[in-house]
Symmetry: C2
Subunit: 206 residues, 2 copies
Amino acid sequence: MDRSQIPDIVIGRLPLYLRALRHLEQAGFQITSSQDLGERLGISPAQIRKDLSLFGEFGKQGTGYTVSNLITELKRILNVESDWPVALIGVGDLGRAIANYGGFTHRGFSIEYLFDNDPEKIGTEIKGVPIKAIEEITETIKEAKVKIAMIATPAEAAQAVADMLVEAGITAILNYAPISISVPSHVQVEYTDPIVHLQQMAYYLT
Amino acid sequence: MDRSQIPDIVIGRLPLYLRALRHLEQAGFQITSSQDLGERLGISPAQIRKDLSLFGEFGKQGTGYTVSNLITELKRILNVESDWPVALIGVGDLGRAIANYGGFTHRGFSIEYLFDNDPEKIGTEIKGVPIKAIEEITETIKEAKVKIAMIATPAEAAQAVADMLVEAGITAILNYAPISISVPSHVQVEYTDPIVHLQQMAYYLT
């Protein structure tokens, strides 16, 4: 099937499959099944089989999926076989935590550009990456052809930063600021929001 | 329909509906439709109508949903009409960012207990909440009957902390540490993972 014909909702589930597979791999499992993945993810095994079947034949009837193979295939499908360079804007507590987080590499992303507006931070480094001034966003990102950015600024700065990023050629934004941002339709925006997870669990609390 | 009969996958979508409705409310919209919500969320309007119909009649044919009403109903369904007290374990860069994040209150949660193992942090406060020693987790959480905790420790400490939380009576854990944790089946665990969002967007990058 043509990539553009796959529903967004299916694409949204692939990273969850990939994460579950990585957890399985870390725990030493070599084989899994749609049943097993389904139980871990709260998604029906039929849905998982149907989603994967849109991209090819990855499992065998009766024996299931080879964990490492399916990881490789999903990374290929998701376009994260090698790491994309990522720009992070806002290096407060949250931005610093993100910049120091070791979990991006080997999962498709590498934070290679940091920006902040605090003169005391500009020129310092986190894990070897220098913090540049906000004013340098456009030139730096255009020149390096970076496509992905994360916004970890205060809410009130997020829209202005988003505007600069779009102007610089960014087409995918992960927004940590607790506010909606407006971007042109060719730019993707995702929000990280712990509340979504907490609310889902609250449903089951008594 | 009995609450326990609603599929998990439906419950998982309700916080997304609620967030989209809050964005609409912030932007000044008073009325919305399953079509409009669907476009914002990448979920089919039929799915949204079907999900909501499991809980009652919230919209009118032809006029759609009143944003504020649907927010109220979803908060009631999700069990987040008032704020749950939450314990946060690990007050490094990430934990500090979470503790300072203003977005929890009025969305169902209030961080009222902080724990860390750093003697220099213990006894200090963030937004009026004192940081206690890890050793005090069990007694504090048991006494206050806290049910929800967030783990923001380094990966290598997460399992030991999860064990203490379960022992103390916690039944819902949001894990920020980049590692899977094992808990008894009566305990819910969710993971916050920026990579999931980034990978979903990478699919569409060229």
